[in-house]
């Protein structure tokens, strides 16, 4: 047993690197007071080490720790997205006024970022419901703390408390669902659960209810309607760096976990079909539930975003809507749908992080995130305004930006699966989203600034970082072949043909 555990350790190098980063960051912060740059450097170094660890695992497909984790191309793909996003957030934080106002708490802030990355790494690998639950708690717990890390701001504490209450409730419901599933199937391993369900070992109404309870936990993490109520308040109150982190990495982890659980638990492994398409076990209509969830999520997200006057809140509702589009890739029940969602995540990371980075830079200068403060931004800082415009065009999904390619693949997968009506709902939703993104354009370029009119100073590293986000947002809209191939390759999960 010991030999086996030691052998398994070789497969979780990235996770070990992140755990050591957490410890090293805390110790450094204790030993050297007020050396924030050093702690941030250690965290970035740890992320680099984790990236090397990930690279050594490329192509592996194994199950480790008695079926607790699966190291496969699917989890590696999401881990790359999470790691890239975490590194960007650390870089954003170094230039954020909100973070530097935390003074002596910055060390813990950076240390917790690596703890959150660890939780999310384990989430996308988990193949056991209990591991899923504990790792979900690890990433949620760190998000509650990080959302409330601006103690001086009342909003931030409010966000943290609301997040905690919703999170505690959702994970409680999820845990109840897990206990029901254990009572029905006698196992927590998702592969065993699938086998038991396939042999009719469980009556379907109970499985359905347990599945819905599980979905409460997943839905809360990806902020799907109707489990989204925390999203706007938390996104508005949390430091913008954390908002950006939650909207991309946290969502990616939730989606990774949901996609694996959905596919592995409900797939009918015995059914014959065309390659790449799979069918669900008879008697459990998980597909219809996801269809309803995705329509509700994108429609509500887009419609409520129309009324927002705070750009952070606007982006919060827009991120809810994007979760809806990405759920569309799941309802296809095929590898092309899954790969479309995964492709969308890479693109969404660049454009959404970019939009939030502009919000951070503008609020560094103006001190707030209202729509008012974007008036005349085109004159005050052409670079920021044009950058923001490109990110928003991409979020809308217009060519020639990357956002168009992301949506194209999702809608194409839907049409191939003969779900044209659903694709039309998605397109109509994108049209609605154009309206509220256009309100930001109008304020930036067509309105005069009401207050300050001086130029916003931008440092060289900021330029560089913004360009690193801007170039892929445009480039992936023109040259996307390799990324699409990589996403299609990464659909492969351990244990499923």
């Amino acid at each position: 047993m010991l030999a086996q555990i030691l052998f398994n350790l070789a497969f979780i190098k990235p996770e070990i690197a992140l755990t050591m980063t957490l410890c090293a960051a805390i110790l450094t912060d204790l030993l050297y007071k007020n050396r924030t740059g050093l702690v941030a450097g250690i965290v970035l170094g740890g992320f680099a080490a984790a990236a090397i660890g990930l690279a050594t695992q490329a192509g592996l497909s194994v199950s480790v720790f008695n079926g607790a984790l699966a190291i496969d191309p699917f989890s590696n793909f999401f881990k790359m997205v999470i790691l890239a996003c975490s590194s960007f957030v650390v870089l954003f934080s170094l230039g954020s006024n909100e973070v530097s106002a935390m003074k002596s708490r910055q060390g813990e802030y950076y240390a917790l970022l690596s703890a959150m990355a660890l939780g999310m790494f384990l989430m996308v690998s988990a193949t056991d419901l209990l591991v899923m639950y504990v790792t979900l708690e690890l990433s949620s717990l760190t998000s509650y703390i990080l959302s409330g890390s601006m103690k001086a701001q009342k909003n931030s504490s409010e966000a943290s408390l609301k997040y905690l209450l919703y999170g505690a409730f959702s994970s409680g419901v999820m845990l109840y669902g897990i206990s029901l599933i254990y009572g029905l199937t006698g196992s927590l391993n998702i592969f065993t659960i699938n086998t038991v369900l396939a042999h009719g070992g469980a009556s379907s109404p109970a499985v359905l209810i347990a599945g819905i309870f599980l979905l409460v936990g997943f839905g809360y993490k990806i902020s799907a309607v109707p489990f989204h109520f925390w999203t706007p308040d938390v996104y508005e109150g949390a430091p913008t760096t954390i908002t950006a982190f939650l909207s991309v990495a946290s969502k990616a982890a939730g989606f990774g976990m949901l996609m694996r659980a959905f596919k592995v638990v409900f797939i009918d492994t015995g059914a014959l079909g065309t390659p790449g398409a799979w069918s669900l076990l008879h008697g459990i209509d998980a597909q219809s539930i996801l269809i309803v969830l995705s329509i509700l999520t994108m429609t509500l997200g887009n419609l409520v975003a129309l009324w927002q006057d705070n750009v952070k809140r606007l982006l919060a509702y827009s991120s809810i809507a994007h979760a809806g589009y990405m759920l569309l890739g799941l309802v296809v029940l095929g590898n092309d749908g899954f790969s479309a969602t995964m492709l969308y995540f890479v693109i969404y990371m660049f454009m959404n992080l970019g939009a939030f980075y502009v919000v951070i830079l503008v609020s560094n200068n103006t001190g707030n995130e209202t729509m008012e403060s974007y008036k005349g931004l085109g004159a005050r800082s052409p670079f920021l305004a044009v950058g923001m415009a490109i990110f928003l065009v991409s979020l809308t999904g217009l060519p020639p930006t990357a956002g168009f390619i992301g949506k194209l693949y999702i809608f194409a997968a839907l049409i191939n699966a003969k779900m044209v009506a659903l694709a039309i709902v998605g397109v109509l939703n994108s049209v609605v989203s154009l309206y509220y993104y256009a309100r930001v354009f109008r304020n930036m370029f067509l309105r005069e600034s009401t207050g300050e009119t001086s130029l916003i100073p931008i440092s060289m590293p900021t330029y560089a970082l913004l360009l690193i986000l801007l170039v892929p947002t445009i480039l992936l809209g023109l040259y996307f072949g390799p990324l699409v191939q990589f996403a299609q390759y990464s659909v492969a999960m351990f244990g499923i043909k």
Binding site: N66, T135, E137, L138
Partner: protein
């Protein structure tokens, strides 16, 4: 009286204690009453664990919840100035939709629980005493090794977070 009847009687007595005291916790406007009735809820749950032959879980429940968390809550209540005399600000909103939802959920859950054949139901005999502690200990450091380690990171994060949020801001 056979053991099955005895089991049922003990179960219903414990369940009633848990439900009654839990509703006092929720509905009481006085925080001291709420904290003290939580004691009975936690004891009742520990009793249910004993009934299900989960001895280790029962002892943990007593030590951690009754011995640790509850005492901490009581001290918190007593040491906090004026909290005893102040009514907690509670309000009830959306009574009708909430009631409909609760009744629906409870109805669905009860009917499903009764209709389903649960794995291993009725196989434990509570008169046969087996200790579970060695098994749990062994599983924690072999089968569930990873979970055990992840849980330790969760606790580390919780401690750091609590310190970070509770620490007094130094004014320079």
């Amino acid at each position: 009286m056979n053991s099955v009847q005895l089991f049922d009687i003990i179960f219903y007595v414990l369940a009633a204690t848990v439900l009654a005291s839990a509703s006092i916790v929720v509905f009481s406007r006085n925080i001291v009453y709420a904290a003290f009735s939580l004691l009975f809820t936690l004891f009742g749950v520990a009793g249910l664990y004993v009934l299900l032959n989960a001895d280790f879980l029962a002892i943990t429940q007593l030590m951690v919840y009754v011995g640790g968390i509850l005492v901490l809550i009581l001290f918190g209540v007593m040491l906090t100035n004026k909290v005893v005399s102040v009514d907690i600000k509670t309000g009830t909103l959306q009574v009708v939709p909430a009631a409909i939802l609760v009744v629906l959920t409870a109805g669905i859950l009860c009917s499903i629980i009764l209709a389903t054949h649960w794995l291993g139901a009725g196989t434990t005999d509570f008169l046969v005493v087996k200790t579970t502690a060695p098994k749990i200990g062994e599983a924690l450091i072999t089968t569930h090794m990873l979970l055990f380690e992840v849980a330790s990171v969760v606790l580390l994060v919780a401690i750091i977070g609590a310190a970070m949020i509770a620490r007094r801001e130094k004014t320079q």
